[in-house]
Symmetry: C2
Subunit: 255 residues, 2 copies
């Protein structure tokens, strides 16, 4: 999940459900692989397996785009690649800027998946003057002072933020003021943006925490639930009645 909070009905997208949109890139990746192997057609079953979803879902997804398959046969790979690309807006060129060229920013600059999907890294921006001029992934890093000019000169509408959390909101504000209307945020902070600006976020530690949750379940499957008594009891109730299910460290859960 990632869309920021541009409180919009969220389903304005010409009838295509968000859940479907989120899967289109997956299908596209699988189709591109097939295309490179010169496979002419695929069935929903095969493509679904390659994309990691089930076939009913895939067919339903495609039905929102139109009827691009052939009954009894399957889908024409090249044709579908084109249709999905067009639907996603990848048939046009999207200049993007990456702000914050630390380890992560450098990784993003080097990431091949961008260029091959219609995204062009128009500029790398960092606040550290010492980095100015240094090329990363063949692109010279420019100083943050140039941000507004760069965005405007290149007609950038998508910005990537990979700065430390503390700088993210400020960078975001400047990007938006300069004309950016879509932001991909890697900083572990909630960005607030005006209406009409989309934010998606990727938080590396969140994914790991979700895994830990499930991992924990596996460990103590049917035993009496969380027994592990680690350290540091919470407590420190600030006001009068904080009344947990029982005192401080519940060993049982309320139903």
């Amino acid at each position: 999940m990632a869309t920021g909070r541009t409180h919009r009905p969220a389903t304005r997208s010409r009838g295509i459900p968000e859940a479907t949109v989120a899967r289109l890139p997956l299908y596209l990746r699988a189709l591109t692989a097939l295309s490179e192997r010169s496979v002419p057609t695929v069935s929903s079953e095969e493509l679904a397996a390659a994309a990691g979803v089930n076939s009913a879902k895939l067919r339903k997804d495609f039905s929102y785009l139109g009827s691009y398959g052939t009954r009894g046969v399957g889908y024409d790979v090249e044709y579908l690649v084109y249709q999905i690309s067009r639907e996603l807006g990848l048939t046009q060129d999207w200049p993007v800027v990456i702000v914050g060229i630390g380890n992560l920013g450098a990784a993003l600059a080097n990431y091949g998946g961008f260029a091959s999907r219609g995204f062009r890294v128009a500029a790398l921006i960092d606040a550290d003057p010492a980095m100015a001029g240094t090329p990363v992934a063949g692109i010279p890093v420019q100083h943050a002072d140039e941000l507004e000019r760069i965005v405007s000169d290149n007609g950038v509408s998508i910005g990537v933020i990979s700065t430390p959390a503390g700088a993210a909101q400020q960078v975001c504000d400047r990007l938006v003021a300069a004309g950016v209307t879509s932001i991909l945020n890697f900083a572990p902070t909630v960005l607030s943006v005006p209406d009409g600006v989309d934010v998606r976020k990727v938080d590396l530690s969140i994914e790991l925490q979700i895994l830990a949750f499930h991992e924990q379940r596996k460990a103590g499957e049917d035993t009496s639930e969380n027994a592990p008594d680690p350290a540091a009891p919470p407590v420190r109730s600030a006001s009068a009645g904080r009344k947990g299910p029982d005192g401080d460290m519940p060993a049982v859960m309320p139903a």
Copy 2:
């Protein structure tokens, strides 16, 4: 969106919905920030704003964990931090290995959000012998030959894959064979794993593609739109024969 769930009704987690689990880290982050500022209590309204969700959703989410709030007052910050940490399994230590120490792997190794959440980078592994011994983020990189031993010696149950796509499945298989049961995959490929192993994926370019989709919609808001009406596909029915490296597809470029 990220999960690569193994076929399961998904309703295994002792009643806590997946959607709620995915938000717990968000709440935890916001609460940690409040805790650092020594704020004793928060209302659902305030916390929801800090986490970027709405308050009804937050209260509903917390209701799955138990009744940890105080009517008329709000939630005790420290107590909630503890309860959520425990629910997520972050009160225990999770050794993780990162396989593939390129730009991204290095960024992950340096990412502070791990250590502060109970995750400990037990080892960095790369297939390039030249990297062996070189420290990244203060941790020496070890050769891939050591993978099985490392996982086993450290009791690693969570693995992070940041290798190129081509190596991911193989690395995954080895991790799983060595005992890893949760995998965070950054490689742009679908991993297949046996039942009982969880995979979550993060694909940097997918997020960008979703943004492009919405960005494209903004461009043609009032102005006629592409007019892909629900029933009529854009043209060019896919008759047989379509193939060849790069064909004649774009005969109908819109916009």
